[in-house]
Every structure is written in C-alpha cells, then in structure tokens.
Amino acid sequence: MMRLPAFDYRVPREVGEAVSLLAEYGEDAKVLAGGTDLLPSMKQGLFTPKVLVSLRGMAELRGIRDAEGGGLRVGAATTLRDVARDPRVLALYPALADACSTVATHIIQGTGTLGGNVLLDTRCTYYNQSAFWRTALGFCLKKGGDVCHVARTSPTCMATASADTVPALILMGANARLVGAAGERVVPVESLYTDDGRDWNTLRPGELLTEVLLPPPAPGSAILHRKMRRRQAIDYGFLLAAVRVDGDLAGGLTDARVVVSCVGPRPVVTPLGDLVAGRPLTAELAEEIAHAAARPAAPLTTHGVMPSYRKKMIRVTVRRALDTLRGEPSAAV
C-alpha cells in the first residue's frame, strides 16, 4: 500500500488567509485543490511539502459567475465536471466543456478542479513513477538528478505540459487571476508556462490562482479541442490539439491559430493569420494549416508512444478537426 508522507494541514477560510499561509511557509507549502494529481505525486515521492493548504474552506473559489461586460469568471476550485455541464460554458465555450469531459475519468472530473488543471505539473514517463522505479534508473533533472533521460545533453527538463483545458483556454484568450501577499495581477493563461519542464510556471512565490477569466467569445470564431491517448479513459494525453478559426469558412477566413500540447514543457502556439487571410477553409487549406501546426512541435520520448507517430498525428488530428468544421467526414490518414 502506498501511504502519503506526513505533513501539516491548514484550511484557510478566505483568500487573504490562504495567501498569508503560502507566504509564511514558502517552498514548504503546496496548495491542495482536488488533489487528484498532487496526492498521487506525493505518494510517489515527487513532492514532500511540510504543509498542505486546502482550498476547501473558501466558497468564493468555487462556482461560475457572469463577468461584467460579458464572459464568465470561473473559480479556480470549481470542479471540471461543474465547468463541463454549466449551460453557459456549453453555449459559449463548447471546446472547454469538451476538454473538461476528456480528463481522466468520471470520478476525477468530479474531483479535480479547473485551477488544478491549469497548474498541472509537467509530466514525463521518467518522472511520474514511484521512488523505487526512479531510484533504479537514476534520478532525472526534474527530480534531483543531473541528466534528462529524454534528451541526455539537454540543460533543461523536457517534461511536457499535459493539461487538457489549457490549449482551448489559450485560444479563448482566457486570463488567470493570481493573488499574492504583494497584491493581485491578471495575466493571460498563455503566459503561465515556461520552456523548462522543471521550473515550468511563471507564478511568483506564494501566489494563488483564484480565478480563470473567460472573455466573451469573438463573433465568427470557432474553437475545437482534440485529445489522443492510449485508452479512452484514465490516461493523460500523448497529444492535445486545439484549433481556432475566425471569419467566414466559405467566404474567407480572417485568422487562425493552433495550440499543440503534450509535446514539450509549454503548449506550442502557432499563429496562422498570414496563411489563412482571405482564403476559404478548403481541404487544401486545412492540410496547409495542419502542416504548419505540426512543423514547430518536436515530441520526444516523454510518453512511451513513439515521437515520430505523435508528430504525424499532430497533422492528422488538426486536419480532422478542421474537416469537422468544414462538415466533411475525415478522409483516411
């Protein structure tokens, strides 16, 4: 049986108190929201915080509220299920609802939170293992070692961004509200991530993600989310892709953008405005967009699924998503 290491446990009743606790304990504290990734990781010895600061005592962090001027404000501790079945989310942000519904399993969707997903630790087949497993091979860069088992000469960790909701959130232009002892700031979700899987997020020490802010959807824009994984439940993805096109599909697009994830420490954003401007979304353009989206991505051996296959599937997945938008049944690979 895998037991958790010992820690102290605090339940702040308001955000100010939570932020004070995080400032007081610094690196020794971890935030506990749904716990569906943190607690398994702690059982595997990946984190040994002295204190867990639970979010369960703060009702203000749960729930979905209408934002002034349109859009929605989603409390960071709102469960993925509550996001996925909210009628406003389903109407305005169907790609986000889709993404939430593909996380792990029914039970984990009802436990895990949107904030926890946005700040999901980077993952790698050489990192997300028991202490016994990691000891046998020798520790990697992300956890106490001096070599990356995926790219042995890499000075940085190659563990991958794996959060299901993030590609869609980036394309929606979502923002994150971060509250720290020195005050609060609102930053684009896209800016939360770095190129180093070890030090993968841009939060300042002691900052707490309190809200994810969803702007009103742009008129004439469509976003689709796609996930590939080995089983259709439980597993993290080995490829995530979200596609956004703006404008008239038949008359001429004004903009397009693709986000690909699970291929590196941060989601890869490919702006395609120049490629698509003024062109209708034909099969030919869909293929060009898919190629352009796959070009910058460089999947490595982080997943136990061949990098060459994952690279090829970026093109296929993006093209199929665009075919869906075009109302075409997808042709064979």
Partner: protein, 168 residues
C-alpha cells in the same frame, strides 16, 4: 499533528482523531473497520477505493480523511436499505457481474450514483459513468448487463427481454 474529524459515515455520526496524511480509505478501513472499501492501485487510477462523498463518487485512496470534515460518506456497507441489498447489488449478483469481486464495491457505488443522476442511461453514458472503475476479470459485458437491469428495476419495472441481461 492529529486533528479532530467529524463526519457522517453510512448515516451515523463519526468522530475521530486523524493524521493529516491519513487517506479516507485508511480511515474507513483501519479506524472504522469498514473493509469493503478496497485498496487497489492507491494512485487514483483503478477505482477500487470508490466511495460516495455527499453522494458523489470519490477515490478514497487519494482523498484526505480531513477533507471530508462535515461531509456524508457512503461506503459499500451503507448502500443496503432496510436490511435488503440495493437493487444495483442484486443486479450484479443476478448477472454474475463479479468474478474476483475486488472492483465490485467501487463499481456498485459508481453505478448507484450514475443511476440516481440518470435513471435510464445510454450505453455511452454507462461507459462514461463507470470510466473510473477498472475490472480485470469480467470484460465488462456482465457489468453492463447488471447496470441495465438495475436501471430497469429502479424504474419500477420488470426487466424486459430487450433491456435485460444477455446470459449465454
């Protein structure tokens, strides 16, 4: 440091001193002796430890006992009603939906929650609702049969040939 935990388990108030790192599964099994809740993978993948917290399925191996302060927990020991096993349990029995039985408590609890929220689920909805519970024996066919039979029974009808079990 141990903290006081007060909650309701299977309809009865419980109060205990628990360590922060004690999981709900450990608390139920070791402090309350409710060993129907099983340890499987212990990492939140397999669903053997599923219990209901305020009616919603939760993985008790990756839930801190202290996170359930003031909540109502239902384990497999608490689903029988008036001395009679739950219709979902009866259907699992009738359809032979358990072989080794280790996943069964978790599956039954997920199924109870599924049919409460959606009394006549489609095939896809059953699969989604039970996606967090792995069974390595049955191949799921008889589990699906049991869920369909339980749905019919809970709706107050006798199983019809079309919706009932396929026992060949």
């Amino acid at each position: 440091m141990r903290q006081i935990l007060r909650l309701t388990v299977n309809g009865e108030a419980a109060e205990s001193l628990v360590a922060p790192h004690q999981s709900l599964a450990d608390f139920l099994r070791e402090d309350l002796g409710l060993t129907g809740t099983k340890h499987g993978c212990d990492l939140g993948d397999c669903g053997a430890c599923t219990v209901l917290v305020d009616g919603e399925p939760r993985l008790s191996c990756i839930t801190l006992a202290l996170e359930c302060e003031g909540r109502e927990v239902t384990t497999i020991e608490g689903v029988a009603r008036d001395g009679r096993v739950h219709p979902v349990q009866e259907a699992f029995d009738r359809c032979v939906a358990a072989q080794c039985g280790y996943c069964t408590p978790g599956l039954v609890l997920s199924c109870v929650a599924l049919l409460r929220d959606n009394p006549s689920p489609s095939e896809a909805q059953i699969r989604a609702g039970l996606s967090g519970n792995i069974c390595r024996c049955t191949g799921y066919t008889k589990i699906m049969d049991a869920v369909r039979e339980a749905a019919v029974e809970l709706a107050g009808q006798a199983p019809s040939p079309a919706e009932g079990s396929r026992r060949d």
